[in-house]
């Protein structure tokens, strides 16, 4: 009788990366063959937004493809986080439309907006875990408050989610007892626990060491392959992000500079995009 050794974690990770890479190639092909076949789930049309007298979004037009990972990239202050807050209805545009499956979010209020928001999860830049709750209760919070899930089911799901983000045994800790990386992973577990239709991630790897950063990218990708959830990621993790997403939107000065499959954007000859990807100080973007 022959025994087949089970694949190691390293092999599984390599397989995950290969599968996803193949999928990204297919996505680019489909996009180039027939862009209309890529169904958008979220869209913004002509969105403008002023904050404290400064124009942050200057006529944003974008589509977020359904059941794909989309990265929004751009230099700091280009309007990425504000765009994300518009997508989930936390901010209302001064003008323009933000639509989910064609339904204008700006026309919704009260319970209708709450119902729509329950289709989303948002991982905030700082995690936004509740200080008064321990990690377990933080992760269980959306299930307890917005669903009728039984406590035993909640326990099973929370322990599973904590295991997924490698935080088993940390449920009793409070947010101020966690490191930055653990805090982010706990927040990620909370974002994933309700199995939402759309997950928005605001810089999920900011401030983390390269190993945890890579682990989180694997986790996001693995979650996507298992659930086919639409994901929107804001990230500065260039060039790594091009490996872990199907679609990329580049924001610059409150406008969409480019949008398309990750590989196409990666090969772009636009000097702003080139400078951003390479991280060069000299170029059309003047920082210093």
């Amino acid at each position: 009788m022959t025994t087949h050794p089970s694949p190691t974690t390293t092999e599984l990770r390599a397989r995950l990366a290969d599968t996803f890479s193949e999928e990204c190639r297919e996505y680019r092909q489909r996009y180039h063959d027939n862009p209309a076949a890529i169904v958008p789930i979220l869209s913004m049309q002509g969105v403008t937004k002023h904050l404290d007298g400064r124009m942050v979004l200057n006529g944003i037009d974008l589509d977020i493809p359904k059941q794909a990972i989309t990265a929004i990239i751009g230099i700091s202050g280009s309007g990425k986080s504000v765009t994300l807050k518009h997508l989930v209805g936390l901010m209302r545009p001064d003008s323009g439309i933000v639509a989910l499956n064609g339904q204008n979010l700006g026309s919704l209020s009260g319970k209708k907006l709450q119902a729509v928001r329950r289709r989303f999860s948002l991982l905030f830049q700082g995690g936004a875990l509740f200080d008064s709750l321990n990690v377990f209760d933080n992760v269980a919070f959306p299930l307890r408050e917005t669903t009728r899930t039984s406590e035993s089911e909640i326990q099973t799901r929370v322990f599973g989610a904590l295991e997924d983000v490698n935080l088993s045994g940390m449920g009793h800790k409070f947010p101020d007892e966690l490191s930055g990386g653990m805090n982010k992973r706990a927040a990620l577990a909370r974002a994933l626990i309700t199995r939402p239709e759309i997950i928005l991630l605001d810089e999920p790897t900011a401030g983390l060491d390269p190993i945890i950063e890579n682990a989180i990218h694997h986790l996001i990708c693995d979650t996507f392959l298992r659930t086919r959830t639409t994901m929107v990621v804001i990230s500065h993790a260039v060039p790594a992000i091009f490996k872990w997403c199907h679609h990329v939107i580049v924001l610059h000065q409150g406008k969409v500079l480019a949008s398309g499959p990750a590989m196409t954007i990666m090969d772009s000859s636009d000097p702003v995009i080139r400078q951003f990807i390479r991280g060069e100080v000299d170029g059309p973007i003047h920082i210093l």
Binding site: K85, R118, D131, E145
Partner: protein, 256 residues
């Protein structure tokens, strides 16, 4: 330098906008507190925080307020040979005025500032936005339990303040100044009516609304980091205290 008329207009617009937002917040809180779910566990937690944890400061303030009132009252009344009225004077001052007002001011300083700071920190750390995204209405989740707790805790604390204050007056009048216990207590029984007690409790109820409303509002809309939270906390305490004194006058005028 800005033109004075422009400055006046801008300030007037800002005050109007802020007042409107405050009343809308109160309206939303009241409407949300009228319908389930009430999250009773959160309400009891807040009653414990606002009420139980303020007991010591309330007891300490009230006993000394009663003692000084008795001392000053005895000195003044003795000039007119009316020392026998000391009991009613202390009791009526406590029940009608000092009990609700001092309780309100002490709770503003102890619990109101904490409410503003806690919600302010939740705002700047995006925890309130997180509630919104999860489809949990933040006003219902954060403001309503505090509002309901204020409605319950303030009248209870005021009653405790009144009783301990009158007892403080008794200590000075009977133990220190040698007045007979019968004169002090008997005068109270005949002078204090149910209307006086009701007036005090209505004031306490109103101050409970003012404190939880203003402090929750200021914290809920805090902005700009730690400095913003500090500013929100200070302005919550100042505005609540001022509103307590202003509303005290109008309630007194209406209930006399």
């Amino acid at each position: 330098m800005a033109h004075p008329v422009l400055l006046l207009g801008t300030t007037a617009l800002q005050v109007t906008r802020e007042t409107g937002r405050m009343f809308l917040f109160l309206l939303q809180t009241i409407l949300a507190s009228l319908s389930p779910p009430w999250r009773l566990r959160n309400v009891f937690k807040q009653i414990h925080f606002i009420g139980m944890r303020s007991l010591f400061v309330i007891a300490l303030t009230s006993v000394f307020a009663g003692m000084v009132l008795a001392l000053q009252g005895y000195y003044t009344l003795s000039r007119f040979g009316s020392e026998a009225l000391l009991g009613p004077a202390v009791a009526l001052s406590m029940i009608r005025e000092l009990g609700p007002v001092l309780s309100g001011l002490m709770i503003t300083g102890r619990a109101g500032s904490a409410i503003a700071a806690e919600l302010g920190i939740m705002r700047i750390r995006e925890q309130i936005d997180a509630l919104d995204v999860m489809g949990v209405p933040p006003i219902r989740f954060l403001a309503v339990p505090r509002f309901l707790a204020g409605l319950v805790a303030l009248p209870l604390l005021t009653v405790i303040f009144d009783v301990i204050g009158i007892w403080g007056g008794y200590l000075v009048a009977v133990q220190l100044l040698g007045m007979s216990a019968g004169t002090y207590l008997g005068g109270i029984e005949s002078a204090v009516s149910m209307h006086d007690v009701t007036t005090g409790l209505i004031k306490a109820l109103c101050f409970g609304i003012v404190i939880t409303w203003v402090c929750s509002y200021k914290g809920y809309f805090a902005r700009r980091g730690a400095e913003g939270v500090s500013h929100a906390t200070t302005s919550a305490v100042v505005l609540s205290s001022v509103l307590i004194l202003v509303s005290d006058y109008f309630i007194t005028a209406m209930m006399l």
